[in-house]
Homo-oligomer: 362 residues x 2
Amino acid sequence: MKLRLGSTLTLLCLLLGGPALAEEGLRDKAKGLFAPIPQTAPGAPGETTPEKIALGKMLFFDPRLSENQDLSCSLCHNPSLAGVSGQFLSSGRHGELGGRNVLTIFNAVFNGSQYWDGRAAGLKEQVEASVMSSPAALLKTRGGPMAVPAATTASAKQHVIERLKTIPGYVDAFKKAFPDAADPVNYDNVARAIAQFEATLITPDALFDRWLKGDDAALSPAQVQGLTLFIGKGCGGCHNGVNLGGSGYARFGVAQSPSVELLPPDDWGRAAVTKKVEDKYAFKVPNLRNVELTAPYFHSGATDDLKEAVAVMASTQLGVTLAPDEIASIEAFLKSLTGRPPQIVLPVLPPNPPRAQAHSAN
Amino acid sequence: MKLRLGSTLTLLCLLLGGPALAEEGLRDKAKGLFAPIPQTAPGAPGETTPEKIALGKMLFFDPRLSENQDLSCSLCHNPSLAGVSGQFLSSGRHGELGGRNVLTIFNAVFNGSQYWDGRAAGLKEQVEASVMSSPAALLKTRGGPMAVPAATTASAKQHVIERLKTIPGYVDAFKKAFPDAADPVNYDNVARAIAQFEATLITPDALFDRWLKGDDAALSPAQVQGLTLFIGKGCGGCHNGVNLGGSGYARFGVAQSPSVELLPPDDWGRAAVTKKVEDKYAFKVPNLRNVELTAPYFHSGATDDLKEAVAVMASTQLGVTLAPDEIASIEAFLKSLTGRPPQIVLPVLPPNPPRAQAHSAN
């Protein structure tokens, strides 16, 4: 079955022997593990509307969602930089650094969960938590402590909503996006709208996807070799699906312990969510789509060299020491995962009303 | 001459008496003071090219021009917010606040000088100074002092250029933008390219511009009344030209001293540039284009209420106390200065190379 003898071309190649047959077998294996990014973003049926996406785009780019009105989602999940900040760790509120390297928002809709520890099930939950988290938060007065007392979250959410309610352009946009809601400007709808916009940020047409769909010429021989190794060495055991990752969890250091730079001992990863000792140092298997553009790597952001990241994964997760040419081939394959970035026209954000006027209303 | 008796329509109106004649006289006065924003951006002949604009757009949105790779031009001059930050004062490096309210980059190409104190002649000089200034700077190691010793500026510029030179996508883009340069990645070309992009950020087709061009219906009666007052009370004496300001200087408090909130005594304005005592508390007359969207107002950012700003200007600069209905009319007129914002597709920024690789090069 895997030989597809019915195909004249394949038969010819079979008679001639050689790479085409091998490639066809490889493609079948690959199709069992991976799938192309679809051409259009998968919206939730009955949920996604152009009005929700338009509102979500405004909110995604709006610094007024942050305490000091200087941070927006787009700052750390920068669509100009493949959905990441490019920083080792990202600056949040008052320049404080986040605790883990930022994950790309591109194709995040295809992930099984969000964050390195999977604490958010979907994009909506990720938005809810990220706006409220510190950094990128709206929580306390300037100069307050960084950690977020849970008791203040409700009032911080209220603060976001009160601010949005003073902006007539937002009130209109929420009404259009949620026409059936009696009081559409609420935190749940903020998260819902941003998630709808984020779900549009997909990158189809990677060379690997063209190859998966049958275009033999899309991958170079080195990339085909890299894919063969990626599957053969076991990388595809965790990095699979549409996103080549983004869903399951793995302990960082299954086969061999990483250095403390790569795995800082005080970050227990998934265990902080599940409270299970067996999840200590487990992290979500990251999405490898556009990985050549999403450096630095690992939850610790400890390297920005993709070759080094490949070598580390092989040794720590698979107990394999890769030869330099094997690393180069796998890196070449990983570069075939770079897709077409979404074209985003910057939104025009609704202006603030005068503060005095807003205060004197009611 | 002002009556344009040759126009049949005007003649008809003249025979009927009334507002159209008055409007025609007003239009002639207005044409003597103001001019519409052109439909296309004025590039420097022989200087502006699509490649320079494309490079400048990338640099404008790139946080890697800042020391900690977390600030870009677009953060304070946010094209989604009419070219301003919307903040009282804007956060720069390490969250430090800038000393004056940010001026819009929209239509700044039509200003006679840049900054509140006019210390930059044109956009290129403004870019050169802003990237090097603190905030929004690249100057010293983290935690260094905020003030910028002049001696470090050369090395800070070198730092920007060295960083850009490690990014292959930028090296290519500079070569395309400056094909005749032997070593195109230099600080002068960074500023030149950003200035070329910024010069495209114009907002034509304001209601006032349509009215100036002859469309009587473009302004409401209140706006016509506001324009009449704007000229009659003397506002147009300083706020004139294409940008209704943006060129000359005026002492804040010619007729009556403003409060210390509006005019903090330690900011001497233009005098810091000219070193002339007569320029103490003189500031550039700001551009009023899109003024309803560029709150807060004044160099101090001390009010975000346009009505209050109008009243303050009348009393401090003209010695006039405006009645509430006069203020309302002038505000209505000012809202007719809101133009069509530029449509900006977010650039895709070139990725960083691995640091190790960049370090091992040379």
